[in-house]
């Protein structure tokens, strides 16, 4: 057997039975051994033969329980069949869940949207009222001051609304991200358990 075949066979024997990092270290170890044996004057075939069969090496490793961790194999084929056959059921449920989450997000964002619109219109109309109020001087001082007062009130109200928008968006964007990331987190956690 050649070096490459030995490494390939070793990797195949180790997969699903050993942590990926451990596989890497083992392959590096045996690869270095083969190279050193060749450097010592052995032929490639002799060097590989001296190390023994990859299958036996892996079996010997298994007795060292602290090093090799048994990891269950992936899904059973039967589960795949069930997954495909059950799609009309779980597919629609999944769609409903996604749409439900979307509607929750939509309702949530209605708040900042409303205050945002109120804020912008309040600030703009406030500025307009204040700036244009001197034009009312010909109609009487009473009207001018009323317009100025209303304008200032609108401006202040608009600013408050914008502040509320800012605060709410900040809060909700965190919530929205959590809503979007939560299923992904769930999936990765699940994967960690399976593989």
């Amino acid at each position: 057997m050649e070096r490459v075949d030995f490494i390939k066979e070793l990797a195949a024997e180790l997969s699903y039975k050993t942590k990926p990092r451990e596989i890497h270290q083992l392959i590096d170890y045996y690869d270095e051994m083969i190279e050193d044996l060749i450097e010592e004057g052995l032929s490639e075939a002799e060097a590989v033969a001296r190390l023994g069969k990859p299958k036996d090496l892996v079996k010997a490793l298994h007795t060292e329980e602290e090093i090799v961790v048994e990891i269950p194999r992936r899904f059973h084929p039967f589960l795949y069949v069930l997954l495909i056959l059950g799609f009309p059921l779980w597919g629609s449920l999944l769609l409903a869940a996604i749409l439900l989450m979307l509607s929750v997000l939509l309702v949530l964002w209605c708040g900042p949207f409303t205050t945002g619109i109120l804020g912008i219109t309040g600030v703009l109309s406030g500025i307009a009222s204040v700036v244009l109020s001197p034009l009312l001087i010909t109609d009487g001082l009473f009207l001018l001051f009323s317009q100025l007062g209303v304008g200032l009130f609108l401006f202040g109200f608009g600013l408050l609304c914008l502040l509320a928008t800012y605060r709410m968006s900040k809060l909700f964007s965190g919530l929205s991200m959590a809503c979007i990331l939560w299923p992904r987190q769930l999936l990765t956690n699940y994967r960690k358990k399976v593989i």
């Binding site: 170890y29 270095e32 010592e40 001296r50």
Partner: protein
């Protein structure tokens, strides 16, 4: 030799060999096996255990266009050897005497 006993002795032998200077896998096999037969595959778990107990540390060095993993003994490794010589070995000689006395 009993497998468990051999494993324990090999750990100390590897550490003792590393006390003479840093070394790599093949060199250790070559120098220790005349004393205590050791194969490439038995050395691996021993090195692994020594590394886990921080008795050795590793580094890589390039050698003829490839990398080689070198092992270096740590202070903990040295303590382990001293422990073997001062505690384990006297105990082993006592056990030896005990077993011999029974025969």
């Amino acid at each position: 030799m009993d497998a468990q006993l051999k494993k324990g002795l090999l750990e100390v032998c590897v550490l003792a060999f590393l006390q003479r200077g840093d070394s790599y896998g093949y060199e250790m096999v070559k120098h220790i096996s005349p004393l205590l037969p050791i194969s490439e595959s038995t050395l691996y778990p021993i090195l692994k255990r020594l590394e886990a107990s921080k008795s050795v540390q590793t580094y890589t060095k390039s050698h003829q266009g490839r990398t080689r993993k070198y092992y270096q003994i740590t202070a903990q490794g040295n303590t382990r050897i001293t422990e073997f010589l001062t505690t384990d070995w006297p105990q082993l000689t006592m056990i030896h005497r005990f077993i011999k006395g029974g025969v």
